[in-house]
Structure formats: structure tokens, C-alpha cells
């Protein structure tokens, strides 16, 4: 087995183009002096990676992308060891990953709390005002059956949760901002959990078809209005603040690069993000095209 692994690695190493052969978990820094922008496995993350990456390129910085890597559980490890230099993050989700018990009341508190828990190799740049939250969303049938409206709270599911199936990404099952928090903060225990994807086509389809009655859908998802899904209020702020905020491995970005990313965040608000997501998902445009067009219109590209 060892000999075989060695033979494979050797052969792989011998072949001409070595660009894909770095070793993210054991290997060191990203190759050369190019900035590696990573993203999680959902479209908005790809889009944000493209936006931040292209903004760096516009300043003449060399950028390579590592898209659709996987869940935060994976990408956080990769940025910590330096195989990724920049990740578009969501501050509240990142905080929940680092500290299950944190319950900040304001954006400033969120920033402080994350910074306190962040690995010493990492730093967060300025947050954008744009927020994309995970949410507890029910489909139209369920909303009608239990008289739920946009003003209803997650807590209103307390007595009926035992009859409902909830669907979300596999990692939702073990996250504080997921089943764990829904139980400890709101006391909800669902009939069962169906592992789908990160607010993507499987989740939407399952909610539409009533395979699940409740699902984690991004608040920036254009399908919410289209399909008359009802997003429940989160009075206890379980899903917290979810501002888009670039996470950076220290020393991989020049001052100019930092300034470029901050300039992007300063112009990125929720309305813009919703509009860009619509272009991506409803109009099926390529994320890179959407990113470039927006940067240009914002005077950043």
C-alpha cells in the first residue's frame, strides 16, 4: 500500500504540469506569490470569491482560485495552514464555528467575539453591510396549515416540529447554527433531518415538493418570493449577524490588496447581493461575468 502510494505520487510528480499537485493539508504556503482565493460549495460563495479575487486582479495582484471546496469545517483548516489566502466568510457563521455559545447582540460585538477566537494566523478585514443569513423557512403548504406568516417566529414551531421534517446541508445537523442551536435555543425537535445541500437546488426542490416542510434557505435566495416560502423570524438571534467579510491568512496580502478588498466590502450591501444572486441563479449567468460586471459598475474593476 505504501509502495503503491509512493509510486502514484512519483508518477504524478513526473508528469509535466505540476500546478495541481500541491498538498493543501500537509503542504505549506500557496505556490509563488499569487493570492489563493477559496470558496465554499454554494453559488454565492463562488460569486463572492470571484468578486474579491477580481478586485485584487484589478490592482495587478496575481490571483488563483480554489472554488467549491466544501463546507466551512474543511475550508477553515485550509486557510489556517495557508493553502488558501482569502476566503469570503460570513461573520456570524464563522463565530458559531469557533464558539458555539457566543450570542452577540450587535455587529461590533460579533466582530470582537470573532477576533477573540480567531486563529493567530488569520485576520478579518472590514465587514460588508451585505448579509445572507441561514434561515428557518417553511413552504407555502406548511405556512398555511399552521397559520405561519412572515411575522411568525421560529419559536412558533415548538408544538408542531415533531410532525415536520427539516432539510439542510449535512453539516447543519451538527452545527450550533443548525439542529444543535434549534434545540438548545428554541427547544425544537424535528421528526427527522434530511441531508440536502447548502441552500441549493436539492434543498429548494425538496421544500417545493414537500419532501421536507422546513428548510435552511439563504435569505438572499430569489426562490423565496418566487415559491412563496415563508422565512420565520429569529427573535433569539440564533443565526446572528451574517455580514459578508473576507477572512485572510496573515502576510499573504499587501496593503494595497487589503485596501482593494475593503473597498469592495464598503460597496456591497444586501440589496446588491440579492440582485447579483438573482442574476446568478434565476438568469443563470456565469459568476465570473456577474462579478466583473458589478465591479465595473461600482468603479472597482
Amino acid at each position: 500500500m505504501v509502495a503503491l502510494a509512493a509510486a502514484t505520487a512519483l508518477l504524478a510528480g513526473c508528469s509535466s504540469d505540476g500546478d495541481t499537485n500541491e498538498n493543501p493539508l500537509t503542504g505549506g504556503k500557496a505556490s509563488g506569490d499569487s493570492v489563493v482565493v477559496g470558496s465554499n460549495n454554494f453559488p454565492e460563495s463562488n460569486l463572492l470569491a470571484d468578486i474579491y479575487g477580481e478586485a485584487l486582479k484589478a490592482k495587478g495582484i496575481k490571483v488563483t482560485y480554489k472554488q467549491n471546496i466544501g463546507s466551512r469545517e474543511t475550508t477553515y483548516g485550509l486557510i489556517k495552514n495557508g493553502s488558501i489566502s482569502v476566503m469570503p466568510e460570513y461573520n456570524g457563521a464563522l463565530l458559531a464555528h469557533l464558539d458555539q455559545k457566543a450570542a452577540p447582540k450587535t455587529l461590533d460585538e460579533t466582530t470582537k467575539a470573532v477576533n477573540a477566537k480567531l486563529d493567530s494566523q488569520l485576520t478579518l478585514l472590514n465587514p460588508a453591510s451585505a448579509q445572507a443569513k441561514d434561515s428557518v423557512t417553511v413552504n407555502a403548504e406548511t405556512a398555511e396549515k399552521y397559520h405561519l406568516t412572515g411575522k411568525s417566529s421560529i419559536a412558533d414551531l415548538k408544538d408542531v416540529a415533531k410532525d415536520l421534517v427539516i432539510g439542510a446541508s449535512p453539516e447543519f445537523q451538527t452545527r450550533q447554527q443548525g439542529l444543535v442551536g434549534l434545540k438548545s435555543v428554541y427547544g425544537l425537535e424535528f421528526k427527522s433531518f434530511k441531508a440536502l445541500d447548502v441552500g441549493g437546488p436539492l434543498t429548494r426542490a425538496a421544500l417545493e415538493k414537500d419532501d421536507v416542510q422546513v428548510a435552511d434557505i439563504f435569505t438572499t435566495d430569489p426562490k423565496i418570493t418566487e415559491e412563496k416560502f415563508v422565512v420565520l423570524q429569529d427573535p433569539k438571534n440564533l443565526f446572528g449577524f451574517q455580514n459578508v467579510q473576507p477572512l485572510v491568512h496573515k502576510g499573504t496580502l499587501s496593503k494595497e490588496g487589503v485596501a482593494a478588498l475593503n473597498a469592495v466590502s464598503a460597496k456591497l450591501d444586501t440589496e446588491t447581493l440579492l440582485e447579483l444572486d438573482t442574476q446568478l441563479q434565476a438568469e443563470k449567468k456565469d459568476p465570473m461575468d456577474v462579478a466583473k460586471a458589478w465591479l465595473k459598475s461600482a468603479g472597482l474593476g
Binding site: G70, S71, E73, T74, G77, G167, S169, P170, E171, Q173, T174, S192, F193, K194, A195, L196, P201, L202, A205, A206, K209, D211
Partner: protein, 222 residues
């Protein structure tokens, strides 16, 4: 921690033994999917293989179909079927059946075709109708090879059925996919161990079935 520690931790955690995500449920789901796929594949592969093998025709066509079936990526087919058909059992069954038909079909064909012609001719000479020649003379002799085709198919199904979890179904693959996204290696290693164990159980079942149903005379000469 090495792989064995992960496996030990997984199986000793009481929480993994009950509920909709417990080992018994997931194991049963996996066996269910696998059996369903194997039965459908056998229902297609066995009759076609028996008939073509009996008449000794169509070998090249079968070989072509088998190669094409093997070359189609199960995982890709699964994703494509989910895009076309939505979530459910059907999009998972299609790639599993496509995967399992070729080994069953080709081995059955070969098994029947390569039966020693002298007893077959003798049976025909005695005036046996073709159907009886196939089922009473050729089939018993071909049985061990036919089983080996079914066994190959079953092992491939058991191993490949794990990808059903990617499109939200249950089965042991659930642990592997969930473990990947939750970065929980206990689950991944536990899941892999369970699938490998199920594959070994499958081998054992086939061994037992072939002991019981293959005529001792055939067994001795094979």
C-alpha cells in the same frame, strides 16, 4: 489517531446505534437499495444472457453494451438523473442497474455458451425441447459462473450505493457524506468499515448459496 481508532470510536458511541441515523437503520436502508438494484439488474441480465448464450449469438453486441455500461460513470449518471427526475429512488436505481447489468449479462452469456456441447447434443438427441435443454442441462452446469457474475454485480452495487447519500437518500453512504461535510472522520471511517463488512457478508452469502444449489458433480469438475 489512526484509522482503527476512528473506527473504534465510531462503533463505541452509543448515539450511533439508534434512531433514524442509527447504524441499524442505515444498514437496513443500504441492504434494501442494494437488493432492489440487484433484483432489477438480474431480471434484465439473466434472461437476456441465458437466451443469447443458449443460441450462442449476439456475443459481440453484448460485449459492446457491456463496455459502454461499464464506461458510463455511475456518479455522473446519478447527478444527471437527479437533475432530470428530481429527488427520489428512481434516479438512484438507474445508475446502480446500469452498473450491475453488464457483469451479469456477460458472465451468464459466457457461462451458458461454454457448457460442454456433448451432453447438450445428447439431450437434444433424446428429443428434449429447447427450453428444457436450457434449464435442465445447460443451467445447472453454468450455475457457478452465473453466480460469479451476480456476485461481482452485488459487490459493485453495495460499494456504489454509498453515493445515494449525495442526493439525500439514506444508507451507509450517509455517514461518509455527512462525515465529509462535518469533518467528522469517525463517521467516514465507520461508514467505510460498514460498507466493507457488508461486501464481505455478500461474498459469504453467495458462497453459501452456491454450496447449496450447485450440483456436487458440477462443483467437483469445476
Amino acid at each position: 489517531m489512526n484509522v482503527l481508532d476512528f473506527a473504534r470510536a465510531f462503533f463505541s458511541d452509543g448515539a450511533h446505534w439508534h434512531g433514524y441515523d442509527g447504524i441499524p437503520t442505515r444498514f437496513a436502508e443500504h441492504v434494501g437499495y442494494s437488493l432492489e438494484a440487484l433484483v432489477i439488474a438480474a431480471a434484465i441480465g439473466l434472461p437476456v444472457g441465458l437466451v443469447t448464450g443458449h443460441y450462442g449469438r449476439g456475443g459481440n453486441t453484448l460485449a459492446l453494451i457491456a463496455t459502454a455500461g461499464r464506461a458510463l460513470p455511475s456518479f455522473g449518471l446519478l447527478v444527471l438523473m437527479v437533475i432530470w427526475l428530481g429527488l427520489g429512488m428512481l434516479p438512484v436505481m438507474i445508475p446502480l442497474v446500469v452498473l450491475a447489468v453488464p457483469p451479469i449479462l456477460v458472465t451468464t452469456y459466457e457461462a451458458v455458451r461454454s457448457v460442454d456441447p456433448s451432453p447438450v447434443d445428447a439431450a437434444r438427441g433424446m428429443g428434449m425441447p429447447e427450453a428444457r435443454v436450457l434449464f435442465q442441462v445447460e443451467l445447472p452446469v453454468a450455475l457457478p459462473l452465473i453466480y460469479s457474475g451476480l456476485r461481482t454485480a452485488a459487490i459493485q452495487i453495495v460499494s456504489t450505493a454509498t453515493i445515494a447519500a449525495y442526493v439525500s437518500l439514506g444508507g451507509i453512504g450517509r455517514y461518509i457524506i455527512d462525515g465529509l461535510y462535518q469533518k467528522d472522520y469517525e463517521k467516514v471511517v465507520g461508514g467505510a468499515t460498514l460498507v466493507a463488512a457488508l461486501a464481505l457478508v455478500t461474498l459469504a452469502v453467495f458462497w453459501a448459496v452456491s454450496r447449496l444449489t450447485v450440483s456436487p458433480g458440477v462443483r467437483r469438475s469445476g
